[in-house]
């Protein structure tokens, strides 16, 4: 199997991220001054002191932006530098350019602003009640929920609170811009969406797209946080470059990044679930209040994904789910691996666990009997086809024995009073495609050079997910070469135009298929040339291990010689591939359509142990049966599954993102206060079983997307913890609030008794021990 293509650079520390590239002469360093308050009207901004500070070259505010300062992926409602109003703490107001980074940051602290405060809202339900929404409330529905409640044997209803999540990409937001002679800019950006950045920069500079070059070598982590957050960072660098005529670099320090960039959306949700006597789901109704933050950003798209995933992998004949983007005064929240899907899945899972607890049955029995079958309908109007939900569930059962696991947990709990175990089974179903249909296109430019080496440029971004490795594998296979003959170039808007962002788990599918198209065109021309030379039908020729074969026998022609000859004979050795996912459509007017090319399925089993004295816990075992199609690179895919899973577990356990309700301040905006999982979070017993070649007709070489689906397993850890807590405290009414921090764990273990436990008895009169 091939290695991760970048790993040899990574381990030597020679991989280049934006600010690792040699600095150009006279480059400026930038820093931001942001709003000290979460909501208000700017009366005046005073930049005098900052301008006068040592080594400062310029200070810019919104009036200085040469083009249109307004930006946003859905609605252009936020200015690159605040114009009139601020809606969240840290919203950029001024941009400082200095000859060194320390001077720029020091000068930023010298800017002052006079802001007339406006009311701060941080609760999405409050915003919703006032009608402060981005866009309109949306509803996905099928069947008739109202008609069936009366026929349900069991109905549960409740509410859940779900915190957001900070991306903590290890490389903070950054960009370096060079001014161009034509008023445009050349930008090295850390972005998942070069075209998005290109559009934002062009708008800010007031030039057409063809004057803006965006180049991306790789990201030090993205996870959605650089899908749209990156646009303003790159645009501000480009504005400074244009206005000063010098290269300019903006690198956010960690605290600033955590304070001002959008994160995973917190959600507050209500649900109602109805079951038949036998345990079939008859009806599900929910309302999601998405905490969108101060500006529209990608919130409506994230919200849509919530609606698409609100049924998870269950057949729900009567379904009605409402969702709204609620406008509040926290950072404008954005994409994050799972992109609203995780929040949608979370609520139906809460409802099922709630019902199971009420009925006194194991939740997995309800889940197993309600998995979708081919022919069922997803609530968004797509009929279930090529369903692998049962295949995954059955594989998990066969490999890891659900009943035995359950029996072992129950037996342990019967024997132990202060350590309780819990288990949960979490099946997932993730639709693959951008639900915004135009984004489902991929492009590749493939060159074969005279020496036989091959290079690829695509619209995909390497951000650790192994895209380059997979693209190179696809090209190598198409050409019959080893991976060493292939390089994958930076992603560049002048080599690839009109790209969608690297997101929605679709990057390999779209760009890999495009590579395949381009490579096959070149291969066919080369083989046609060889056939002509050899006087045989090209159909009989192939390239295997960099040698030409005819009917499977070596034709005594190496790839290198063949290419050299083809060049001399003026055969075109370059081509462009284009791929658009076939057969998908979605009509938001009726909220129905064949939204996804296919679905990824999987089943995870979590086992945890809770220390009921201290409220701490350990994840003991995670076992997963996952549907990867036919993997392009199994080790890379395992890394993605483990990575998404652990990232999700962080969201569900120790990542405790907090905003102060009164000030709107993020109170956990440092590494010291916001804890992402460390190596101790990963259990030794973490087993991943990939389904054996279930196939997939759409992905390149029958592979399946892998980026986001494994993240969706994470709520399983929450439900396993909840079960262990309930084994200790079966009577307490426990809320469905995540994450399950040690604090929540302890408070739930003793819910109902805490006042008695912590109260100081003021009767220590007799403190002398009796003899």
């Amino acid at each position: 199997m091939s290695r991760h293509l970048d790993a040899e650079f990574h381990v030597r520390g020679t991989s280049r991220y934006v600010d690792d590239h040699p600095r150009p002469e006279n480059m400026l360093h930038l820093a931001l001054f942001g709003s000290p308050v979460a909501h208000g009207r700017i009366a005046s901004v005073d930049t005098q002191a900052a301008r006068a500070a040592d080594n400062v070259v310029a200070v810019f505010t919104v009036e200085d932006i040469p083009g249109d300062p307004w930006h946003g992926p859905v609605v252009q409602d936020e200015a690159l530098l605040a114009a009139g109003e601020v809606r969240y703490i840290g919203q950029p107001i001024a941009l400082i350019a200095a000859t060194d980074v320390a001077s720029a940051r020091r000068a930023a602290a010298l800017v002052s602003v006079d802001i007339e405060p406006l009311e701060i809202v941080t609760d999405p339900r409050v915003a919703h009640a006032r009608g402060d929404l981005f866009g309109v409330e949306r509803t996905f529905a099928q069947g008739d929920v109202d008609a069936v409640w009366d026929t349900c044997a069991t109905i549960v209803e409740g509410r859940s609170e779900l915190a957001g999540q900070e991306h903590v990409y290890m490389e903070t937001q950054r960009a370096r811009a060079y001014p161009r002679e034509d008023g445009g800019a050349q930008v090295m950006a850390s972005t998942q969406g070069p075209t998005m950045v290109q559009k934002c920069v062009a708008r800010a500079l007031g030039v057409a797209l063809h004057r803006v070059e965006i180049d991306v070598t790789r990201l030090g982590g993205g996870f959605g946080g650089k899908e749209d957050n990156a646009n303003s960072i790159a645009s501000l660098a480009a504005v400074a470059a244009r206005l000063t005529g010098r290269p300019a670099e903006l690198v956010l320090d960690r605290a600033t990044d955590m304070r001002i960039t959008g994160k995973r959306h917190p959600y507050s949700s209500d649900y109602r679930l109805g079951l038949s006597e036998a345990g079939d789901i008859l009806a599900f109704e929910a309302r999601h209040y998405q905490n969108a933050g101060g500006y529209t950003e990608l919130s409506p798209a994230v919200l849509e994904r919530t609606l698409f995933t609100s049924c998870n992998t269950y057949n729900i004949p009567n379904f009605r789910v409402h969702a709204a983007c609620c406008k509040t005064n926290i950072v404008p929240n954005t994409a994050f691996r799972g992109f609203g899907a995780a929040q949608g899945l979370w609520v139906i899972e809460c409802a099922i666990h709630h019902a199971a607890e009420q009925l006194g049955v194991a939740a997995e029995t309800l889940k197993a009997r309600n998995l979708v079958h081919d022919g069922d309908w997803f609530p968004y109007g797509q009929q279930v086809a090529h369903e692998h939900a049962h295949m995954c569930w059955d594989a998990a059962d066969a490999q890891f024995d659900l009943a035995a696991t359950r029996a072992a947990v129950d037996a342990f709990n019967a024997d132990h009073s202060h350590i309780k175990k819990g288990m949960a089974v979490l099946p997932i179903c993730h639709g693959v495609s951008f639900t915004k249909i135009p984004l489902n296109q991929g492009q590749a430019l493939v060159h074969v050079y005279q020496d036989g080496s091959v290079t690829l440029s695509t619209g995909g971004i390497e951000m650790g997910q192994g895209l380059s490795t997979k693209l190179a594998a696809i090209a190598a296979r198409a050409f019959g070469l080893s991976m060493e003959r292939i390089t994958v170039q930076s992603t560049n808007t002048f080599r690839t135009a009109n790209m969608g962002p690297s997101a929605a788990s679709a990057t390999t599918d779209l760009n890999g298929n495009a590579v395949l198209v381009a490579a096959e065109k070149i291969r066919e021309r080369v083989l046609a040339f060889a056939g002509q030379r050899l006087g045989v039908d090209a159909e009989r020729l192939a390239i295997v291990d960099a040698r030409l074969t005819c009917d499977g026998d070596d034709a005594d022609w190496s790839w290198n010689d063949l290419i050299a000859q083809a060049f001399l004979n003026r055969i075109n050795l370059s081509d462009h591939g284009f791929y658009a996912t076939p057969g998908i459509a979605f009509d938001p007017a009726v909220e129905k359509g064949q939204a996804f090319a296919y679905h990824v399925y999987g089943t995870a089993i979590f086992e945890v142990a809770v220390d009921c004295l201290r409220g701490t816990y350990e994840i003991e075992r995670i076992r997963i049966a996952h549907d990867m199609g036919r993997p392009l690179n199994e080790a890379v895919d395992i890394g993605q599954i483990e990575g998404g899973l652990i990232q999700g577990i962080g969201w569900m356990t120790c990542e405790d993102l907090r905003f102060d309700a009164e000030s709107g301040a993020c109170t956990t905006a440092t590494h010291a206060s916001y804890k992402v999982p460390g190596v101790y979070m990963v259990p030794d017993d973490l087993q991943i079983h990939l389904l054996e070649d279930p196939g997939n007709s759409v992905g390149p070489y029958s592979s399946k997307a892998v980026g986001e689906p494994p993240f969706l397993y994470a709520p399983g850890v929450y439900f396993a913890l909840r079960e262990a807590i309930r084994a200790f405290n079966p009577s307490g009414p426990l809320p469905f609030d995540a994450p399950m921090t040690p604090e929540r764990t302890l408070m739930q273990l003793y819910a109902g008794r805490i006042d008695d436990m912590i109260e100081a008895r003021s009767s220590p009169a007799d403190t002398t021990p009796s003899a």
Binding site: G13, E171, G466, H671, V679, M681, F728, E743
Partner: protein, 478 residues
């Protein structure tokens, strides 16, 4: 303020003309443009800027610790050997066995955390006096955040490394480690390199903030540039180092690092669980730098070392010039939040009494199980004489301005029999005088409950058979 700081940087002698307070990370990345070192947080929490810091111990043997460059002032590398990722690369472009293990284990995804991890794994290999196990690998990786998160691949890389090390007689010298490709070739000639380093100049006495390991001071300032300074560096003051035992006390120099405390046999004799108790306290990269004195003087409301020392009845030796005075640690933290420490005074050492047959238990809970600040911690020590508790010390942090002794509870416990009623009486007296606050770590209500539970845990750990845990946790089921 600029002065020349001389040290070894990889294979060469480096003379850095810069502010001695400048963090090494900024010097290397910004001034020297050695960009293999990455900035992830600039607060010592992510490990992306790890470098090896080598210096000779009191025995003359050079030891290399992995430390975070962001919290390390240039002044502290004077006369030392700094090895960055660039220094761990083979000149021929090939990979060392450590690097290959990560590549083959698919332990690198976006790559940003990877150079620091190579550095820390090298620390493990350099210090290995036996074949490491997975616990050692986890301890080594503990301070490195991989957000992608490739921990599974890194653990598999660690397994490969263990296999390679198992083929070697350990401890191995540099040439042997070079021979099996754990290190690039230049390490074989490291003695010659060290000989090029001039005599280390005596540290200049500066006025200013007393500076020990920097793991607190350097997280306070702005993330760019220096942390301020000038500092009065304590690292070279011999009066502040070493762990020496006498018949009835143990003297621990204030500059003793958390790591040294963890690994001290003398400390373990006083408190056998010290190594495991301190494992969750910070990351190894931080434990290599943070000091006992720093922890005590910083006196954070949730300090770990200070709580332990408080519960072990520590006395501080405080010096000013040539004078010395002693103060009980319990009296060092004033009720008003102030420390009993004059502006010119330095905590030089901690003295722990040796108490025969003492029982000790330490408890702490943090949001992330390891490498995170305690929300609440507590240490209990006592003796049992004729079935009764004697010399009871109960210290806790996270429930007040500074680490404190729970004197009401201690008073209640002294002389009582070990039984459930005694514990119940203790719990009733816990809340007296405590003022935990609501903050991002948790609500005041939670902290009160947690302290109660951890005190119950003391009794469960120390006297499990003598108390009715069921009754004390008020099993909600009943």
């Amino acid at each position: 303020m600029t002065s020349a700081v001389e040290f070894l940087l990889n294979e060469r002698v480096e003379r850095a003309a810069a502010d001695p307070a400048l963090p090494l990370l900024d010097y290397l990345r910004d001034r020297r443009r050695l960009v293999g070192i990455k900035e992830g947080c600039h607060e010592g929490d992510c490990g992306a800027c790890a470098v090896l810091l080598g210096r000779p111990g009191s025995d003359g043997v050079w030891r290399y610790n992995s430390v975070t460059g962001c919290l390390l002032p240039l002044a502290d590398v004077a006369g030392a050997h700094v090895v960055t990722i660039e220094g761990l690369n083979r000149r021929d472009g090939g990979l060392t066995a450590i690097q290959s293990a990560i590549v083959d284990g698919y332990g690198s995804q976006c790559g940003y955390c990877t150079p620091g991890i190579v550095v820390s794994l090298t620390e493990l290999v350099l210090a290995a006096d036996r074949v490491p196990d997975r616990d050692d690998i986890r301890r080594t990786l503990g301070g490195h955040l991989c957000r992608c998160t490739g921990y599974g691949g890194l653990l598999r890389a660690g397994d490969r490394l263990i296999e390679v090390l198992a083929t070697l007689a350990l401890p191995a010298d540099m040439p042997a480690l070079v021979e099996i490709n754990m290190l690039p070739a230049w390490f074989a000639d490291i003695d010659d390199l060290r000989a090029q380093l001039g005599e280390r100049p005596a540290a200049a006495e500066h006025d200013g903030l007393a500076f020990a390991g920097g793991t607190d001071i350097y997280t306070r300032g702005p993330s760019a540039g220096s942390a301020g300074g000038p500092f009065r560096r304590l690292a070279d003051d011999a009066r502040l180092t070493g762990i020496q035992g006498s018949a009835d006390t143990l003297r621990i120099g204030a500059m003793t690092t958390t790591r040294q405390l963890m690994e001290s046999a003398q400390m373990a004799a006083l408190m056998p669980s010290i190594a495991t108790d301190l494992l969750p306290v910070a990351a190894q990269t931080i434990r290599n730098r943070s000091t006992l004195g720093g922890n005590i003087v910083t006196g954070a409301h949730n300090a770990d070392l200070a709580t332990i020392m408080l519960g072990l009845d520590a006395t501080l030796s405080i010096i000013a010039g040539s004078s010395e005075r002693r103060v009980a640690l319990a009296d060092f933290y004033g009720a008003d939040g102030r420390l009993d420490l004059g502006p010119d005074e330095i905590v030089a050492a901690v003295h722990l009494p040796r108490v025969a047959d003492r029982r000790v238990n330490f408890e702490r809970v943090s949001k992330r199980s390891h490498h995170d600040k305690a929300i609440v911690n507590t240490l209990m020590s006592c003796r049992v004489v004729d079935g009764r508790l004697v010399d009871v010390r109960l210290a806790a942090s996270g429930v007040g301005l500074h680490p404190l002794r729970l004197s009401e509870a201690e008073g209640w416990l002294e002389g009582r029999a070990v039984d459930t009623d005694t514990v119940t009486g203790t719990l009733e007296r816990l809340a007296i005088g405590l003022a935990p606050v609501d903050d991002y770590q948790g609500s005041a209500r939670y902290k009160r409950l947690l302290l109660r539970q951890l005190v119950v845990a003391h009794f469960a750990e120390l006297f499990g058979d003598d108390i009715d845990l069921e009754a004390l946790t008020m099993a909600v089921a009943s």
